[in-house]
């Protein structure tokens, strides 16, 4: 009991519990078939693997978004950045632009990520140097981003024909889907960087009180700039996975509404949108919760249109549980009943 109490103090505790609960409910409703994992050609298949594979994009976005939200900002351009990176990569692999690169997949991946970094740096520039509110600053790229992606692909849906490129989404290593390893790598990098260097502390301090942090000698602007750039890079990688999944670049629909899902994932993970404390593992759990809701709605055979209603209700419930005011109100209600009961028993 003591141990559970200690564990529950971690930010990632409740999101993980909710995630496991959703899986268990699914398991009970489906009579256990939900947990079936088959091995075909040394690759693992099953609903759980599906959740991990399809959730990889969201997990990447949530990792980047966690840091942005920790500084008290928001990045609503990640969906558009995904479209841009997909457009760049597919156009290069297709040989439409940069024929000198010889349709090389490596060059495509590098340049796509570079594109994401540039987009992120632009957001960071607007937020930290021009001092525009984050939501407005990133709205510019959100609106323009799809247009830019269309410019790159010349308004067409570019399809690619390259097994090496498909591997980004469909490949397997040690029986596990390849996107999972990308996520592991990115998350490990992010956690090492924030927990083993002073950067994580700077980040939290910037989010809690930028003015005080500035006076304490922290270069707040550089922290913000770095964070947005990182978020852009993560979005670019997610865009690569998405475009490899659909085997082409669809500028209109790639990453549509993903920014909202990513912010939701972080909020479910318990990171305040006002900045301050953050936890990457908690955000990952949040991302998995969203993905498992989507997958389980499909698995239950309910019409997929209802997914968004279910999502909305669950999000509100989770937010209510995290709200201090709501908890207090509930406590008051319960404690108001207690004296009565005590009086009766006495």
């Amino acid at each position: 009991m003591e141990k559970i109490k200690k564990l529950s103090k971690y930010q990632g505790f409740w999101p993980t519990v909710i995630f496991i609960a959703i899986l268990l409910i699914n398991g009970i409703i489906s009579g256990g078939t939900f947990f079936d994992i088959k091995i075909v050609d040394a690759h693992l298949y099953g609903r759980l693997i599906d959740i991990l594979r399809n959730g990889s994009k969201l997990m990447l976005l949530a990792t980047g978004m966690t840091f942005v939200l920790a500084t008290g900002g928001t990045d609503i351009s990640v969906g558009s950045v995904m479209a841009i990176s997909g457009a760049i990569a597919c156009s290069i692999v297709d040989g439409r632009i940069l024929p000198g690169a010889g349709q090389s997949v490596q060059a495509a991946i590098l340049l796509a990520i570079l594109g994401g970094v540039v987009c992120g740096a632009w957001n960071g520039f607007l937020v930290s140097k021009v001092k525009i509110q984050p939501i407005v600053a990133t709205m510019i790229l959100m609106v323009a981003g799809r247009g830019i992606a269309q410019l790159i692909t010349d308004g067409k849906i570019v399809t690619v024909n390259s097994d090496a490129y498909y591997f980004i989404n469909g490949g397997y290593i040690l029986g596990l889907p390849f996107p999972l390893f990308i996520v592991l790598f990115a998350v490990a990098l992010a956690i090492l960087f924030t927990k083993k260097t002073a950067f994580g502390l700077f980040l939290e301090s910037t989010g809690c009180n930028p003015v005080a942090s500035h006076f304490a000698g922290i270069n707040v602007n550089r922290v913000k700039w770095l964070v947005y750039t990182f978020c852009g890079a993560m979005a670019a990688v997610a865009g690569l996975i998405e475009s490899a999944g659909i085997k082409g670049a669809d500028c209109n629909n790639a990453g549509l509404f993903m920014e909202l899902d990513a912010i939701l994932a972080v909020a479910i993970g318990g990171t305040s949108l006002n900045g301050g404390r953050f936890s990457v593992p908690a955000s990952l759990a949040g991302a998995l919760i969203i993905q498992s809701i989507t997958t389980s709605v499909y698995a239950m055979g309910v019409a997929p249109e209802i997914t968004s209603v279910v999502k909305a209700v669950i999000v509100i419930c989770i937010c209510l549980f995290q709200s201090v005011e709501f908890k207090e109100k509930m406590r008051k209600r319960f404690s108001a009943h207690k004296p009565e009961r005590m009086a009766k028993t006495a």
Binding site: E305, V315, I316, V324
Partner: protein, 336 residues
């Protein structure tokens, strides 16, 4: 004496923003007129009103929320829901006289519910209205995933009633938008509630210490936004005579950027509904020019974004200047 100077200066800055917006609108319109011989006509201008009336209504609603420093990203879904739900009800034979008040009431209550959650449980407006967006969009799809045509006589009459003069046409629903604009201007300028909206946006804590009903105001602005979105939905269903669950995806960003171009600060406290209306018209002009130029529609997005960027930077510079002035004044006062 010094107070008078202060109020004059404030007045000045607020007007600059509106002036720049109006000049930009005239400038863009002149560019169009110079480039295309048929552009400069009353009918082009009236078409801006005809095509933009639903967006004007929705943007005015969202301006109230933005003025308090909140945000409402559920409006596009509320519009879609209103269209789909009213089309669905009309098809089952419910008369228009029942349908329209009903959908308006739903919009109002839905907005109020979101406002209540934001205010009572201190939830993030972004997250709550995001959930609202998902919820409404989901309900649309639950009702019907296919487009439902509207064949009701009243709707048809509203869709086709127009005022023709000098070769230009103004549809009836433009007058609804005008009425909303006038009502909103009056409310913000001359009622206690309107002044409280600005006070809450300026500084919530001081507003509450002044004894202003902050909580009630916050709930009310979300209710207004929901109501305006529902009304915009009714107008939109006049405009298209159909209800489709995926219409207007991403429209909330158009509304927010219109408000920003019109001089509303997203931090709250500064902005006018007339500025927002001009902001909608500017986006309409860009769209028209892009159509005249025969460019792909995604150019509209790029141009709007560039304009948005420009405007935000201008606002930033103006705000920065006034901050500096305040600093200097503070120093001078201290020295004295």
């Amino acid at each position: 004496m010094s107070e008078q100077v202060k109020s004059q200066k404030k007045f000045h800055i607020k007007n600059i923003s509106l002036l720049v917006t109006s000049l930009l609108f005239i400038g863009l319109f002149s560019v169009g007129a110079a480039a295309y011989p048929k552009f400069l006509s009353l009918s082009t201008f009236c078409n801006l009103l005809n095509d933009g009336s639903y967006l004007i209504i929705a943007s005015i609603g969202i301006t109230f929320v933005l003025l308090t420093g909140g945000i409402d990203i559920s409006i596009s879904s509320t519009i879609a829901f209103t269209c789909v739900f009213s089309a669905f009800l009309l098809r089952t034979g419910v008369p228009a006289g029942v349908v329209i008040p009903l959908v308006l009431l739903i919009g109002l209550l839905f907005g109020a519910l979101m406002g209540f959650m934001i205010n009572a449980y201190r939830l993030q407006p972004f997250i709550v209205t995001l959930a609202g967006q998902f919820f409404m969009r989901g309900l649309c799809a639950v009702i019907s995933t296919e487009s439902i045509p509207i064949t009701d006589d009243f709707y048809k009459k509203m869709a086709l009633t127009k005022l023709s003069f000098l070769g230009a046409k103004i549809y009836f629903y433009v007058f609804i938008a005008a009425a909303v604009l006038i009502a909103a201007m009056f409310t913000l300028k001359f009622t206690r509630f309107g002044r409280t909206v600005y006070a809450v946006g300026g500084n919530e804590q001081s507003a509450s210490l002044m004894g202003l009903p902050v909580g009630r105001t916050k709930v009310t602005v979300y209710a207004i936004s929901g109501f305006c979105a529902a009304l915009a939905g009714v107008v939109f269903s006049f405009y298209t005579l159909a209800g489709y669950s995926l219409q207007n995806v991403g429209m909330e960003m158009d509304a927010i950027s219109s408000a920003v171009i019109g001089g509303t600060l997203l931090t709250g406290g500064v902005g006018t509904v007339i500025g927002t209306t001009v902001g909608v018209m500017i986006q309409g002009v860009i769209q028209t020019i892009v159509t005249y130029q025969n460019l792909n529609t995604w150019w509209t997005k790029v141009f709007s974004a560039a304009l948005l960027c420009l405007f935000i930077v201008i606002q930033r510079m103006l705000a920065g200047r006034s901050e500096k002035r305040k600093d200097i004044r503070g120093k001078v006062e201290k020295a004295a």
